[in-house]
């Protein structure tokens, strides 16, 4: 209520500066017929994209190439959202790189993995599109954008190595190539412009947006109102809400500010909520993914995920209270994170130097040792002592783990033992502590296979598309590693093409 009041005052103040006629006020009251009469548009484009991550940029490129004029707005002072800080793992099935390395895969197998991890809550039609078009999306990133992918990696929950990692092990490889491509096409990301609300006409079609120009993140009073007309459509690609404590605790009350997040600070949910205000439907909002591989000993995403996720299947994860394993290390993120939270204290992931040298990128290891989140010990006794692990049960558990590695099968938790894993025993031993961080929002707006946002009557809201993390349904309960990139780029491209194909209303 208070929030609304303030918005309204801001808006009135905005009228003074932007020189708007008073008739616009009806639209802003948030009820009654929306009218555009009197709105003075400051700028226009056929397609207006909100957000500059994978999804928004993919949409912008496709819309532009389909002949539309395009604007991309971004509230932060730098472009790229979570996409520019991401780990660069792109899941795609049946690719050339997989064939080269003798990995047999298919969109059907990828779909089965997604559904299994997603607890069969996935919107299958959309998940299938992601799988079927994943290879094409990756090839587009390589051939059209010029992004470089260097290696095939493995993430828990996939039945085969399927994630193609960028050369720099960062999503920025793709985002920066997208930004360069857009520049070539004459489109610049307009930074520090925060989307505030949709403008609809009498029929409820989205015909534009209000933004705050010159916005400084965190200062809700900053910036001045600007109205941008979208002659064809708006594509909402504003990402997830992992950093929005108020919103995430509504959907999952466990996720208080006690939990850190791996996301960029601007990963908040106001744009998604604006879509809900104009009648959009949402789904799976309480399926918020925690990264089970995160460390309490470093901030943000850090280096530990790049360590832990590489040595699963090579070294066990131990409950320090008992000295015993408690979860399938190669299980999906939800199983692992829930199990750790249940234990209530950070758990220990240990690997020996054989596994670490084989699996972990040297610069990651070096950086993690330097910041202190990865530790090195010469004996298992030393490890037990440092982390207060009861020694005998711990040693017994390591022996038991080693017997599973030797026969290539884990009788206790069915961990997928690494292909060339060896029993743990070559010192030094590397240890990280794990405590989950809020990582990804599976839930979001309901869209159809054309990326149109559906309303509460299951009808598309005319003029509104959504793609990327702000959209829900594809992942169901659990997103598998690497599938966000596929999802964002596949549906970002679809949204861009479809939006450019709309009949202009003006």
């Amino acid at each position: 209520m208070i929030e609304k009041e303030i918005k309204r005052r801001d808006f009135l103040k905005g009228i003074a500066t932007a020189g708007l006629a008073v008739a616009g006020v009806t639209a802003l009251a948030g009820c009654g017929p929306k009218t555009t009469e009197g709105i003075k548009w400051n700028e226009e484009a056929d397609v207006v994209v909100i957000g500059s991550g994978f999804a928004g940029l993919a949409a912008a490129i496709e819309a532009k190439n389909a002949g539309a004029t395009v604007k991309v707005i971004e509230k932060m002072p730098t472009p790229g959202g979570n996409s520019i800080i991401n780990g660069g793992d792109f899941a795609a099935a049946g690719t050339a790189m997989q064939k080269e390395q003798g990995v047999e895969d298919s969109p059907e197998l990828m779909l089965q993995d997604m559904l299994k991890a997603g607890l069969y809550l996935n919107h299958v039609d959309k998940a299938r599109i992601v799988c079927e078009q994943s290879k094409d999306a990756l090839e587009w990133a390589i051939n059209y954008l010029g992004a470089k992918f260097a290696r095939l990696t493995y993430h828990g929950g996939h039945s085969v190595p399927r994630t193609h990692q960028t050369e720099s092990a960062s999503g920025s490889e793709v985002v920066n190539k997208m930004l360069a491509k857009l520049k070539e096409l004459g489109v610049n990301v307009e930074l520090r412009r925060k989307f505030v609300r949709f403008i609809q006409n009498e029929e409820g079609r989205v015909i534009g947006i209000e933004v705050r120009d010159g916005y400084k993140f965190g200062d809700e009073k900053s910036g001045t109102p600007v109205f941008i007309k979208a002659k064809k459509a708006v594509v909402l690609a504003s990402g997830g809400f992992s950093q929005d404590v108020k919103m995430r605790t509504i959907h999952d009350p466990r996720l208080t500010e006690e939990f850190e997040s791996t996301n960029q600070p601007g990963a908040t949910g106001e744009a998604l909520r604006e879509a809900l205000k104009i009648g959009a439907m949402d789904v799976h909002m309480d399926w918020i993914q925690l990264g089970p591989w995160a460390s309490p000993d470093e901030k943000g995403f850090g280096y530990v995920p790049l360590f832990s996720e590489r040595v699963i299947g090579y070294g066990p994860i131990i409950n320090p209270k008992t000295g015993k394993r408690f979860v399938n290390e190669t299980g999906n993120r939800k199983e692992r994170a829930d199990a750790i939270i249940l234990i209530g204290v950070p758990v220990i992931h240990i690997a020996d130097s054989y596994a670490v040298e084989k699996q972990v990128v040297p610069s990651t290891l070096e950086a993690g040792l330097k910041n202190g989140a990865i530790k090195k010990y010469n004996t298992l006794e030393e490890v037990a002592k440092t982390y207060n692990i009861p020694l005998q049960p711990f040693l017994a558990e390591i022996a038991r783990w080693n017997s599973f590695v030797a026969k290539g099968k884990d009788d206790d938790f069915n961990c997928k033992i690494g292909k060339d894993a060896k029993p743990l025993g070559t010192p030094p031993f590397y240890v990280v502590r794990l405590w989950p961080k809020v990582h990804h929002c599976m839930g979001g707006l309901v869209t159809n296979t054309k990326a149109q946002v559906l309303n509460q009557d299951f009808e598309p809201i005319k003029g509104l598309y959504a793609a990327g993390e702000v959209m829900g349904g594809t992942h169901g309960a659990v997103r598998l590693g690497g599938v966000a990139m596929a999802d964002c780029i596949v549906f970002g491209r679809i949204a861009g093409k479809e939006a450019a194909n709309e009949e202009p209303w003006a």
Partner: protein, 186 residues
């Protein structure tokens, strides 16, 4: 929480509406006039300007001496007008902003564009990139790509490393006093 803060601001703003606007307009006009006329130095010393002295003074002081980047420019013979010259028109525009909305904080931090910095640093920027290759990472060459200089470098206030919101790089502690280093790691 946000909304609540917003409300108290609103109340406070109303109470101070008149004096603050006045001050803001005055300050804006003085900045415009002074910068345009090149009399900033004298102006800031004259008692008749004392309503605005305390506003301009810190800028002058940060240039005249001390640890901030403005002072380093002063040492190299760069003065107020070398940086603020072509902005007269822009300043007038800002004056209007003060009138209509930004009266709360008359001298709001202004964002210098990358082009403005590069108008002098185009030729030595490649050197700067090389000078800041700290091995672990390089603030001028990262996954964030080309970002605005002012996200890190500030002239009249302490600079801050933008990367610090996500990374604890060990080179922060070696930066000089023009940088906010105590924040790193928090």
């Amino acid at each position: 929480m946000e909304a609540h803060n917003g409300q108290t601001n609103e109340v406070r703003k109303k109470a101070f509406f008149r004096p603050k606007v006045l001050l803001g307009v005055l300050a804006a006009l003085v900045v415009v006039a002074a910068v345009a006329g090149g009399v900033l130095f004298q102006a800031s010393k004259k008692p008749s300007f004392c309503a605005t002295c305390h506003i301009i003074e810190p800028y002058y002081n940060s240039w005249k001496g001390g640890d901030l980047l403005a002072a380093k420019h002063a040492e190299a013979g760069v003065d107020c007008l070398d940086c603020h010259h072509k902005s007269t028109v822009a300043k007038i525009g800002e004056g209007i902003n003060y009138l209509t909305g930004n009266y709360e904080n008359p001298l709001k931090e202004r964002d210098f564009s990358m082009e403005e910095c590069l108008s002098c640093h185009k030729d030595d920027f490649a050197e700067a990139v090389a000078a800041t290759d700290f091995g672990e990472s390089n603030p001028h060459d990262s996954h964030l790509g080309e970002i605005e200089c002012h996200l890190c470098h500030k002239m009249h206030r302490q600079s801050e490393v933008y990367c610090a919101q996500c990374h604890d790089f060990s080179w922060y502690k070696d930066l000089d006093k023009s940088w906010k280093t105590e924040l790193a790691g928090s």
